[in-house]
Symmetry: D2
């Protein structure tokens, strides 16, 4: 199954006055990793713009395990967990870059279900069968 | 069990180039409703600033059901689903204000688990027993 | 000249780990006030969606004067400063709601230049002459 | 005078339903470049966390010249324009990575005035004299 990885540093705008990263900011990191994952099937931003076939998030689950702080470097690992007819299940691990990527030090774990939606009709489309095999 | 409600209008910055509200933006609306809910136990922002007891999101689940668009008015209804010793489970419905709040027209449904964390030690604190009864 | 006013409370996601509101978050409040201002000329979100004539920010200036904090209520006052052929100059004052709106207590002052852009061509359009008179 | 450069790709969450990058999202790119610039004086995030001396934005100006789109790669170039006793003036150019960094193709140009603020007192501090010379 395909996987992808991105690296990001925590900026001031990712944190809140609790002193650590805002729960909402992690979803931006997840989206960046998901975009890298979908590019592996040729679903780049250019392709999306020309085909108007959009990856749309239908469900998100995220567990916040340890707070990340200003300046921390995160590795986000995205992989496909499984396919349904019109849904792709993706898993994400958000890890400190400094931890040798030991899952024990995970900042957060997330999963998302993504549907391919043809615009402007808004109709969901079947996952291309060649995606299952790759 | 306590509940709260807020009303918000979709701004340009809530949408993305797919033409509808970004999956991430809904989490801001959820946070606004959650803040209104916690205020009902006297956990206002002033109180948080003076006690340094912070409500911290430990888990989020959200199902995106129908896309909201620029200019739509949303009602977000927050309620407590149940208490554990150190976790509060909250449910959220994001509804179009124009739908007479018919659950069939829901934009999204979410739930969050919240922990009370004492800063600067970072220790979780028991949910005050009087919260269970109110 | 037209003016508009909105009221907002500072949420966790508006702040950063410096303990006060992020410089970027204020621009969301400015946008909310600008939308209220443009609605006074009939340029509501529904109207934008049907005409595809978009208000586009061409320039922003903002001075940060006093930090706002979690839970503070802000009043944002928007007004038109002047019109050019294809630009509208808007001024904004971001005031604590608790200050009796005394300009001495201003959190921030901003101005923006807005152009009306016809999509999908991307052409700027002249400001409707009736806007000058109202 | 010191300078720094960062590279970013436009994500869905950076765009709005006008089809291009939201005016607010550019400020995140500016902040990332500014952080890279300040690190050149040893003002890394670790250093900020241990000294509690924060770089605070006192003023932002930004001109939006050409819209960036989903998937575009941006180079942001940050440099110091000049120092005052307690203010650093920084300039930013946001360029398409594909343009050979020709200033004619600039997406946006910005400048910011930054003050060094000692927390928790909130007092502004003089710019260290060695910064002027470097």
């Amino acid at each position: 199954m395909k996987s992808a990885e991105i690296k990001e540093q925590i900026m001031f705008y990712d944190t809140d006055c609790g002193g650590v990263v805002s729960n909402i900011a992690y979803l931006r990191f997840v989206e960046k990793a998901r975009s890298a994952l979908f590019e592996k099937w040729g679903m780049s931003f250019d392709e999306i713009a020309s085909t108007l076939l959009f990856p749309v998030v239908a469900r998100t689950e995220i567990d916040y395990l340890r707070p990340a702080k200003l300046g921390d470097w995160l590795i986000v690992r995205a992989r496909v967990a499984r396919f349904e007819k019109v849904r792709i299940h993706c898993d994400f691990e958000l890890l400190p870059a400094s931890s040798c990527l030991d899952p024990e030090h995970c900042f957060a774990r997330a999963s998302q279900q993504v549907v391919l939606v043809q615009m402007p009709s808004g109709r969901p489309r079947r996952i291309p069968p060649e995606w299952f095999e790759s």
